[in-house]
């Protein structure tokens, strides 16, 4: 196991968005999260990357790092938590004043202070992996949405995180551009990256995941193999959700 999460809770004001979430993230496995809008999927992902601080919950990592959010968490611990994962955003959030190449090298060069030659090699390799080596000197505004998102993936990979987080990586894309991004993510799954993916692409979730988790109203309603959750869900709420997605009225 890579990370075990126990009794995670998070509120915004009176709005309790995550209620007592338990999840295990297995090393080298892909966990997909599905669920209706507002169910807390993004919030869960952001807690994993400390973009949000949970009110409560215990994170235990395989290397012994343990964070109990009911206690005071030091800046040092937040930093450690953040270093463990890379985040890919729904809206890419590339740095518009930097080229694709510079977007990828920024973290390793400036934050990790690695050697220039080494980082250059790493960035070229990653941009090749996402199929954009020939576009590496272009600025984000010169790239399509699908290309921008692939740069976003390369930028996150460049920090060499142990866990990759994706928040609806294709939902801002035109339909014809979704495939190229999903292909890159499938490639990462084949390379045994540990990943958590929030997605509305059920077919993709079925193909790429080792485990699927259905969230509703801040709870995990159902979790299991893709076969089980997507094809023969036990819970009525999961069935309704899948019905609505598969046969939009």
């Amino acid at each position: 196991m890579f990370l075990s999460i126990k009794s995670l809770a998070k509120s915004f004001g009176d709005n309790q968005v995550l209620k007592d979430i338990d999840v295990n993230i297995e090393k080298g496995k892909v966990l997909s999260i599905i669920g209706p809008s507002g169910s807390g999927k993004t919030t869960l992902l952001r807690c994993l990357n400390s973009l949000e601080e949970p009110d409560k919950g215990i994170f235990t990592f395989n290397d012994g790092l343990t964070l109990d959010f009911e206690k005071k968490i030091s800046k040092q611990e937040i930093l450690k938590l953040r270093q463990k994962s890379g985040m890919v955003f729904q809206s890419y959030n590339l740095f518009p004043h930097k080229t694709a190449f510079e977007n990828v090298t920024e973290g390793p060069l400036i934050v990790q202070k690695r050697k220039k030659a080494e980082v250059k090699e790493l960035a070229e390799e990653l941009l090749e992996k996402v199929g954009l080596k020939d576009k590496m000197n272009l600025y984000p505004h010169q790239l399509s949405g699908g290309q921008q998102q692939r740069v976003g993936i390369a930028r996150a990979l460049a920090m060499e995180p142990e866990l990759m987080l994706f928040d609806e990586p294709t939902s801002a894309l035109d339909p014809e551009l979704i495939g190229e991004v999903l292909t890159v993510i499938k490639g990462l799954a084949r390379d045994n990256w540990t990943m958590v993916i929030v997605t509305h692409e059920l077919q993709f979730a079925g193909e790429v995941s080792d485990e699927v988790l259905f969230m509703d109203g801040g709870y995990i309603v159902e979790q299991g193999s893709p076969q089980q959750v997507l094809k023969s869900p036990k819970e009525a709420r999961t069935q309704q959700f899948l019905q609505r997605i598969l046969n939009p009225a």
């Binding site: 270093q83 955003f89 590339l94 004043h97 973290g107 505004h141």
Partner: protein, 228 residues
């Protein structure tokens, strides 16, 4: 002075003869005053903007008070306090440095608001993306946010720059021999107020027109790289 300008010099001749002293005033004082105060003012503005977005009260409060005081009082009054007021407490400053101080304080206050607004206009996702690759707040500000904020602030800052060119005419009232002071001196001798002040206006106009062309070019080149 090369030309002699007196009360009986005629219209067109007066116009032509006055050009040189006025342009000299512009080159010696108006333009240096504008450039020096703009550069110093922007540096001050950056500092003030940083103080204003800081979480520390000790930095935040003085910055707010400073901006409020400068924006809430007339520039002319500030100039008079520095040049005519301070000597009363034994602090005498020459006209040109007095003007530099007053205009810098002014640009610093107004431009800090522009820069602060530009920083706040950069989408939250940029801060978050910087955070997720491990940047501290100050690194994110320096490497990711400020470069974009600078681009956002170019149009309003170039407007401030053009206003500054015109505002420097107020320095004539603390005896800086800039463009408008030259016009006033010649007019005092020739009594041709209309001609000379219109002439001064035209020279300001030409300077500002050239600057606005430069502004358009800079904006075209910069506005491409800002997150939407």
């Amino acid at each position: 002075m090369i030309f002699t300008i007196s009360a009986n010099t005629g219209g067109w001749e007066l116009f032509v003869n006055s050009l040189l002293p006025m342009i000299t005033g512009a080159i010696q004082y108006t333009i240096p005053l504008t450039l020096i105060t703009f550069v110093l003012g922007i540096l001050l503005a950056l500092l003030i903007a940083m103080m204003r977005i800081s979480n520390s009260k000790v930095l935040h409060v003085p910055a707010v008070v400073y901006v409020s005081a400068i924006r809430g009082t007339p520039l002319l009054v500030q100039l008079f306090i520095i040049f005519y007021g301070l000597p009363t407490i034994g602090l005498t400053i020459d006209p040109f440095p007095s003007a530099i101080i007053a205009f810098t304080l002014n640009v610093g206050a107004y431009a800090s608001e522009i820069i602060r607004a530009a920083i706040l206009s950069i989408p939250k996702g940029q801060w978050e993306a910087a955070q997720t690759i491990g940047m501290s707040r100050s690194t994110a500000l320096r490497r990711i946010i400020l470069p974009q904020a600078v681009r956002v602030s170019v149009p309003p800052l170039s407007n401030s720059f053009i206003s500054l060119v015109k505002d420097t005419s107020l320095a004539s009232l603390i005896l800086v021999a800039e463009l408008f002071r030259k016009a006033q001196e010649i007019a005092a001798r020739t009594y041709d107020f209309l001609l000379l002040y219109v002439e001064a206006a035209i020279i300001y106009w030409v300077i500002c027109f050239i600057l606005s062309l430069v502004q358009t070019i800079i904006e075209k080149r910069l506005d491409r790289y800002v997150a939407k």
